[in-house]
């Protein structure tokens, strides 16, 4: 299946009942698939008048405790940032998909990872976080969509799945796991009518007294700390004896893996560390993966964004360099291999 379609199918199987979106390349197949399937399978598909409206529809549906999602691509996600901030401030769970493309501005429609900063640090105004999941195969897209809904409800946070034009358009075989789409018990906070049985629920991000707002934000950060402790995830490949560890996420990690294999064939001890959760960033796992490393190379489809988190995690104890292509250009394994060779020469 195509990555975008597999994502959509996984969402339905995970119990997503509502989709609100706006057309944009390269996430198109996702919304087209849902427009066909949702009405047949008891769900709601609605094409909104704008990304701004779509994310606010997500807020409304999510506020009722319904599993809900939206998808877009980079410029559209910028438009959604207002609503995402409100959703985070109102503790409403939902899934937001970004099938990244080139930027800034209208940029290009080619694959990119230029929204790492936006996703992990700047998705709207205020102190808040989203859980950011970064799959690197169509199968993992499916698995992480299911996990995204569960995590969102467990911690009452919005979750973003960061895909890109490569993963979205890629065709791979995929198996759908058995899913029990029970969902969490949202009856303690959701706006579904009091039935005259309880005090009214208010889904809200406004706290006009500074001390009240601080308390709300602090409580949210206590949850974030639990998420950092329990949900950080990364994958190591040939890192145990590696002199050079590449860090890469999403589709780029597959290119980097080819380069690592080529380097190993030349006798260079290279390894790959792939963060699966971009927030929380898997710091401990990265430290484990770089125990033997003399150099770290961050490979990204941008001008160097995740490298900041890699450096922070390593606390400047290992030199970290960068290789990336941007604007929608995809780096080749040989380009990455050349960087590995240079680093290998440097550490000898």
């Amino acid at each position: 299946m195509k990555g975008n379609e597999a994502l959509a199918e996984a969402a339905i199987r995970a119990g997503c009942k509502c989709f609100f979106g706006y057309p944009i390349t390269p996430q198109t197949e996702l919304s087209e698939y849902l427009s066909k399937q949702m009405p047949k399978r008891g769900g709601v598909f609605l094409q909104a008048e704008s990304e701004v409206a779509a994310i606010n529809m997500v807020l409304g549906a999510g506020a009722t405790g319904t599993r809900v999602m939206t998808s877009s691509s980079s410029p559209g996600v910028s438009l959604k940032s207002e609503g995402i901030s409100y959703i985070a401030g109102s503790d409403v769970p939902c899934l937001i998909v970004n099938v990244e493309r080139g930027g800034p501005g209208l940029g290009s429609i080619q694959p990119s990872q230029q929204d790492y900063w936006q996703a992990t640090k700047g998705l709207g105004h205020g102190d808040f976080r989203l859980i950011i999941l970064a799959p690197n195969s169509v199968q993992e897209v499916v698995n992480l969509v299911v996990r995204a809904f569960d995590l969102g409800e467990k911690y009452r946070v919005p979750v973003m799945l960061l895909s890109d034009g490569l993963l979205g358009q890629m065709m791979e075989p995929v198996e759908f796991p058995e899913i029990s789409a029970e969902g969490a018990d949202n009856s303690g906070w959701a706006a579904v009518g009091t039935k005259m049985q309880r005090e009214h629920h208010i889904v809200n991000s406004l706290y006009i007294e500074a001390n009240d707002l601080e308390e709300q934000v602090r409580k949210r950060y206590e949850r974030y700390a639990v998420i950092e402790e329990n949900e950080s995830e990364g994958e190591s490949y040939l890192c145990d004896d590696a002199d050079i560890v590449i860090t890469a996420f999403g589709a780029t990690s597959r290119i980097a893996k080819s380069a690592v294999n080529k380097a190993r064939a030349e006798g260079i001890k290279a390894g790959l560390f792939r963060p699966i959760t971009l927030w929380p960033f898997p710091k401990k796992q990265l430290l484990d993966a770089t125990k033997q490393a003399k150099a770290v190379l961050s490979v990204e489809m941008n001008m160097g964004q995740m490298i900041d988190d890699v450096k922070l995690a390593l606390d400047c104890k290992i030199p970290v360099s960068f290789y990336g292509r941007t604007g929608g250009v995809i780096p080749s394994p040989n380009e990455v291999l050349e960087e590995i060779r240079k680093l290998n020469g440097g550490i000898k």
């Binding site: 701004v52 409304g60 009091t194 208010i202």
Partner: protein
């Protein structure tokens, strides 16, 4: 003696934060009275705007959601689509509904969303201190039109009901006022109609209520009512701009297809 008139149940027993004589309180009460009389408090979700009525979530006894500025119709759409069994209303001011939220308003209307929109038009941004609103009258002095609104530069006021009544998804578009008891009674009747339309699945209903803002108009509450009558109502005529059975009114378009096969 029996109690003949008191605060409706759906309006919480708290002091409203509005300025003395602000007619928001009357409109809140009318919405709550309709909710009481229809017996739907337990199955209603309200969506608040940003503006003076931002704290309305503290005042209505039903479940409430606070929307970003202007986005209440989109939030209400999300609620209603996810849970069609709920009664959903938005409560919005003129800056919220007719400036920053114009797109959300127009498209919720054209989709015929089954929601009730209570639109409070007092021609000013009250919460931020009396700036020019999309419905500020020509010549009206505000803090951002200090020489009076000049339509040549600042544009013309928007007639919301007239505009929305051109859309096929709009079932009810009506403009009322709360300057007198008869007008207050009429407003309540129309709010009830908006909620009933929703229960019938009759599409988008908007009740525009001409309202006052004594603090930012720089008038006493009584003088504000007088201005409402002498300046605002003549500019924004009261009345029913549209009141249809949406399915019947659009039978030709609906016959063109699109039903799920």
């Amino acid at each position: 003696m029996a109690v003949k008139f008191q605060r409706p149940h759906a309006l919480c027993d708290v002091r409203l934060h509005y300025c003395a004589g602000c007619t928001h309180g009357i409109i809140h009460r009318l919405v709550a009275e309709v909710i009481d009389e229809m017996g739907i408090e337990g199955d209603t979700v309200g969506v608040c705007p940003v503006g003076c009525s931002v704290f309305a979530y503290n005042y209505f006894g039903c479940d409430m959601i606070e929307a970003p500025h202007g986005r209440a119709p989109a939030v209400a759409t999300g609620v209603k689509r996810a849970r069609p069994d709920l009664n959903v209303f938005t409560y919005q001011g003129d800056g919220d509904l007719a400036a920053i939220g114009t797109a959300e308003t127009v498209h919720a209307a054209t989709r015929g969303e089954n929601i009730a929109v209570i639109f409070v038009n007092n021609g000013t941004y009250g919460m931020t201190g009396g700036q020019m609103a999309p419905t500020t009258l020509p010549g009206q002095v505000t803090t951002t039109s200090p020489y009076g609104r000049d339509p040549r530069k600042a544009g013309y006021p928007i007639h919301v009901c007239e505009m929305l009544s051109t859309l096929d998804g709009t079932a009810l578009a009506v403009r009322t006022a709360v300057d007198t008891v008869p007008h207050i009674r009429e407003t309540k009747k129309m709010i009830r109609k908006a909620f009933e339309n929703q229960q019938k699945g009759n599409g988008f209903s908007i009740v525009e209520v001409l309202s006052t803002c004594p603090s930012n108009w720089g008038l006493t509450p009584k003088e504000s009512i007088k201005r409402l009558q002498e300046e605002c109502i003549p500019y924004y005529p009261l009345g029913v701009y549209k009141d249809v059975n949406m399915e019947e009114a659009n039978a030709d378009k609906l016959a063109m297809g699109g039903a799920a096969k």
